[in-house]
């Protein structure tokens, strides 16, 4: 299967009073159709900005985005409407992203109305179908978002994203606001939908156990850059970048007998404003050497396992 989405050297800078903030700085990757790419990193690493730039919710500063082989980096308004049918988004906070004055049914139907190709009756039928697909009871049609719990609200968000039958969905922390028992219900729903509809996902999250469960490949970001990318199991079995290692060792495991060595990072993420060339993680890295001040290159260490660290390379 071919790649549905390819991103080349994508950059998104913001101008701030203190200088240029490099939110996304030269990220490249490709996703195969029907697969899930997990993007992990801590707050401020640029993972959400990356997703939103791909979706044209933000304009990119530099680089290219290809969707189904077509360059969509610069598009006019008409083309953008077309892209929106193919690429959708599910947000973290299902409450903030739903109009409080619209009923469940109106929210799910809205994309169909905007698209304007179906008759009223067809839209009604399609909405019923969508509600069933995501497991929302028919009796909730007239309910408003504030009457529902987080899990149901997120189901509305998913139904709305599915309405136009997209090929690609950006999931931006879709289960982070949910309790674990509800989180598992939503994750399973998303996997079912992917199987049934051949959807491709980018799954942005800070939760590493969730990302392992749902992703085929995982990309780790640090301060706007990709530091490592590998198939999900490979990344957890054989992390190469010092940051990935520290990140994985920091996850508290639900096992009272777990004994392991934790790599405690000193300090916190440094400022992404006017960053220096060289490895951005070096200031916190226990292995850092003088060479880390040089710009790092992404190297394929083994099949599909990429890392951006000269130390990891030499091992």
């Amino acid at each position: 299967m071919g790649n549905i989405l390819e991103v080349r050297n994508l950059k998104k800078y913001f101008n701030t009073p203190k200088g240029q903030l490099h939110a996304v700085d030269g990220v490249s990757f490709a996703i195969e159709k029907g697969k899930t790419l997990g993007i992990v990193g801590e707050s401020g690493c640029g993972k959400s900005t990356l997703g939103r730039t791909i979706l044209h919710l933000l304009d990119s500063t530099d680089g290219q985005i290809f969707f189904e082989g077509k360059d969509i980096t610069r598009v006019n308004k008409k083309e953008l409407v077309k892209i929106r049918e193919e690429m959708q988004i599910i947000f973290q906070d299902p409450f903030a992203s739903l109009n409080p004055r619209m009923s469940v049914r109106q929210i799910i139907m809205e994309p169909l109305i905007i698209q304007g190709v179906m008759t009223k009756a067809e839209m009604e039928q399609e909405t019923d179908q969508l509600m069933e697909t995501v497991g929302l009871a028919r009796r909730l049609s007239g309910a408003y978002p504030h009457e529902l719990d987080g899990g149901r609200r997120q189901r509305i968000g998913i139904a709305r994203a599915l309405a136009l039958n997209p090929k690609f969905i950006l999931c931006d922390e879709p289960v982070s606001a949910l309790d674990v028992s509800i989180q598992a219900q939503i994750l399973n729903l998303m996997l079912d939908l992917q199987e049934e509809r051949g959807l491709t996902y980018i799954f942005v999250t800070h939760d590493l156990s969730v990302v392992k469960y749902i992703s085929d490949e995982i990309m780790v970001m640090y301060l706007g850059q990709m530091v490592e990318k590998a198939p999900a199991d490979e990344l957890f079995d054989n992390p190469l970048h010092p940051y990935t290692k520290a990140l994985l060792s920091a996850i508290p495991l639900p096992d009272v007998h777990a004994k392991r060595k934790r790599i405690l990072l000193e300090g916190e993420i440094t400022s992404p404003i006017n960053p220096k060339p060289g490895c951005r993680f070096a200031a916190r890295c226990i292995y850092a050497t003088q060479e880390c001040a040089e710009p790092q290159h992404i190297v394929e260490i083994s099949k599909n396992h990429y890392v951006s660290c000269h130390i990891a390379e030499s091992h």
Partner: protein
Amino acid sequence: MENNLLKVNDLIIEYHSDKKIVQAVNGVNLELNKGETLGLVGETGAGKTTIAKAILRILPDPPAKIKQGKIFFEGTDLLELSEKKMSHIKGNEISMIFQDPMTALNPIMSIGKQIAETIRLHEKISKARANIEAIKMLELVGIPGERFGEYPHQFSGGMKQRVVIAMALACKPKLLLADEPTTALDVTIQAQVLELMNKLKKELNTSVLLITHDLGIVAEMCDKVAVIYAGEVVESGSAIDIFDNTAHPYTKGLFDSLPKLDSMESRLKPIKGMMPDPTELPSGCKFYDRCPYAVEDCKSLGAEKKEMGSGHYVLCRRAGEVC
């Protein structure tokens, strides 16, 4: 019992709103010994925070009403104390840290002053002396003393939470109530804060009531665990009891809902349905509707408290037969 620090007996708390009564806490018993960490685990709305606030007597009344129960702290029932005596206990003997460090700090006062103020509120010492103590506390939580004069917005989330911890521990309380202290933080920062809490707990011999929804944090931090569901403790015991000999179907459901890092499962097994509406709690076992092992008796006769092993209690009629 010399060793016992906190004992909650049969606590019942309701919230009264216009017409509805929310049954938030329904007969909770907890016990915490000196130097121990007790994890209070459960999902949103289970009643965890309400219990902690009741211990510190900071529940807003109205709407909250403590209907029944006793909270013994070193043998004294806190619910019987006068406001004056209680305010002496707050901060001095028991203090609390909240989930969101941003809202717990005063944005227009330097963090050093805020810590010093807390100290002077409880100890009769000079300003200069309190400032020295505050600097000591800052350094204890890994923040350089020279940042004494800086304001909350100049610190990152993880540092702010460390400031809050420094403040809570400034008077060396015997009991720390920690309500989701690391939920708002990134994992690497969370690891730093948890490590710090463990270190301070040992140094100051503080007991901790740790409220969390994260079973990973429980495994790492807690000696004992109480699992809360719909305002009831459904399972309690040592951490090993809960993790290795899980006996309540709800606890088991929580574990099955978690994606594991060390195994390749194809699908998670979520708990079906949702927690019951606390304004209309069902009769009988409150987990009945969601429980895969439920039988008729669970509904008609209700749940039954059983002791599975020494100190390992389960609120389930079928515990031992199933799970």
